[in-house]
């Protein structure tokens, strides 16, 4: 079943055309990866889906409903959670407060408790650091916090913007393990990465983006095997 359908999406920053008519779709239960070089427009697409940016053209439909005219806070309520590039945890607040904020729209207290238990069992390090200022966590721990915070809203669709960026290799592997685990629990994932090899190896399907346009699409394995992708993104 199709969960998200993006059609002819165009997004500008003033005169700069960052995304020029992009179309793709995500089916329930998939990991879909969007890969592309720096500046290709990946972050812009994600921000537009989550409502932080407004498109100039195109449609975004989520379970058949239009998202384009909704505010970011409503889009979260609909079940789309966005882990932004650079993590953007709330500094000056404890790990626990960050997670509480993730559950901002959850009304039911017992539900919030369950979500805490779930996120803490997935990320035991966060429980250990519960009362620590989130800004004092290492990069990898902050990324786990950012993902944990997003999971606190019980998303149906998780948007991940370069979760492995700037992390030590052990953390990178861990993050990709976590993404697979999230998928196995039934959450659909849109994964943006510059680490194309790793992203495509866990993705069901992928799209290659360059200068604001989709250049190629296929299953993760097809793209990994494609000479063009290898040449451009996998170092030969």
């Amino acid at each position: 079943m199709m969960i998200l359908k993006v059609s002819d999406l165009a997004v500008n920053y003033g005169a700069i055309k960052a995304v020029k008519g992009v179309s793709f779709e995500i089916n329930e239960g998939e990991i879909v990866s969007l890969i592309g070089a720096n500046g290709a427009g990946k972050t812009t697409i994600l921000k537009t889906i989550s409502g932080l940016l407004k498109p100039v053209e195109g449609t975004i439909s989520y379970f058949g409903k239009d998202l384009k005219h909704k505010k970011a806070s409503h889009i979260v309520a609909e079940g789309i959670s966005h882990v932004p590039e650079g993590r953007h945890i709330f500094p000056g607040m404890s790990v626990k407060e960050n997670l509480q904020l993730g559950a901002f729209l959850q009304k039911d207290r017992t539900q919030v408790k369950e979500l805490f238990t779930e996120v803490y069992s997935q990320f035991p390090i966060l429980r250990q650091r519960e009362d620590q200022d989130a800004a004092t966590l290492s990069g990898g721990e902050q990324q786990m916090l950012a993902i944990g915070r997003a999971l606190m809203s019980k998303p149906k669709l998780l948007l991940l913007d370069e979760p492995s960026m700037g992390l030590a290799p052990i953390f990178i592997n861990k993050i990709f393990e976590i993404i697979k685990a999230i998928k196995n629990r039934g959450t659909t994932v849109l994964l943006i990465e510059q680490n194309a090899k790793k992203a495509l190896s866990i993705a069901d399907r992928g799209y290659v983006l360059a200068t604001g346009e989709i250049k190629m699409e296929g299953t993760g394995a097809q793209l990994l095997a494609s000479p063009a992708v290898q040449k451009a993104y996998l170092g030969g």
């Binding site: 989550s50 409502g51 932080l52 505010k71 970011a72 806070s73 979260v76 309520a77 959670s81 966005h82 932004p84 953007h88 945890i89 709330f90 500094p91 000056g92 607040m93 407060e97 509480q100 904020l101 993730g102 901002f104 729209l105 915070r149 997003a150 606190m152 809203s153």
Partner: protein, 292 residues
């Protein structure tokens, strides 16, 4: 030494008023990076509201205080909605000039409606002086200090432990990330204005009680001093604003007590200049680079 302690008591009483006002400046700055120059005028509105409800409806102190907080809180929300919200994506200087305009509007509007002359604030609390080891402290001073401390404590609790408090902090540090967890920034900004303006309203009623006299321009100088207090404490920092308020109150009273009354305002501005030169981010300010 007795005179010194006497001045400390007086300074803390005045300082608690500045602290309540400074909190509004600092919270609003923290969340939308606006120096709300109309904030002192909200305090004036609070004083006038207190004046009327006490005279006309015979409210007692608590009722006058609480109703002034509600009315001022609402005024703050309305002003933000009509004057500042449409300018959310304009350059900061536009909003700043608008704030000055709102300030003139409130001052002149009140002068037009109620006359510009000073009037005596009804003394609902009968003054009683206590003598503790030669230091005189009045029941009104105790009431002001206690009320201010209770309000500041409540504010701390709201900011630390409530959902809206967390939302305020989240929007202050990272507006986009706050939206991504489902926070509505506009609602949170309204809430911040409501809290800050309610504290200003409380300060207005208390200053009426303390100084006995109110007029439409009464918010100008305390407004600027509270702004200085917020800068001294580190603008954006809530504990900083409280501390800064008390420090400015103490400083002003001490300067007066050594016979330099004529310079009491000047000294506050000198403090502002010195702070900006040697400690630009204030006592509790974080040395953060402007976000682009």
């Amino acid at each position: 030494m007795q005179t010194f302690f006497q001045q400390v008591i007086n300074g803390l009483s005045l300082g608690s008023i500045y602290a309540l006002l400074a909190l509004g400046y600092t919270m609003v700055y923290g969340i939308i990076k606006l120096i709300n120059f109309a904030h002192g005028d909200i305090y004036m509105l609070g004083a006038f509201w207190g004046y009327y409800v006490i005279n006309v409806w015979h409210f007692n102190f608590i009722a006058a205080l609480l109703s002034a907080m509600v009315i001022c809180g609402l005024s703050g929300v309305i002003i933000e909605y009509f004057a500042y919200r449409p300018l959310r994506h304009s350059p900061r200087i536009t909003a700043l000039i608008t704030a000055i305009g709102v300030s003139f509007f409130l001052e002149n509007g009140m002068a037009y409606l109620f006359g510009s002359n000073a009037r005596d604030f009804p003394q609902i609390v009968k003054q009683v002086n206590y003598n503790i080891g030669g230091v005189r402290i009045s029941n009104i001073q105790i009431q002001i200090l206690a009320t201010a401390c209770i309000l500041m404590l409540l504010l701390q609790l709201i900011i630390r432990y409530t959902k809206m408090g967390r939302a305020m902090r989240a929007v202050s540090v990272d507006n986009d990330a706050a939206q991504l967890v489902g926070i509505n920034p506009n609602l949170t900004i309204s809430f911040t204005f409501a809290l800050g303006s309610a504290l200003a309203g409380a300060a207005g009623v208390m200053i009426g009680l303390y100084y006995n006299s109110i007029d439409p321009l009464m918010g100008m100088t305390p407004g600027i001093k509270a702004f200085v207090a917020a800068v001294v404490g580190g603008i954006g920092s809530v504990p900083g604003a409280s501390l800064g308020g008390f420090l400015i109150g103490l400083l002003e009273t001490l300067v007066q007590s050594v016979g330099l009354s004529a310079y009491k305002d000047a000294v506050v501005y000198v403090v502002l200049i010195v702070i900006l030169l040697i400690l630009p981010t204030g006592i509790f300010g974080k040395n953060v680079k402007e976000k682009v």
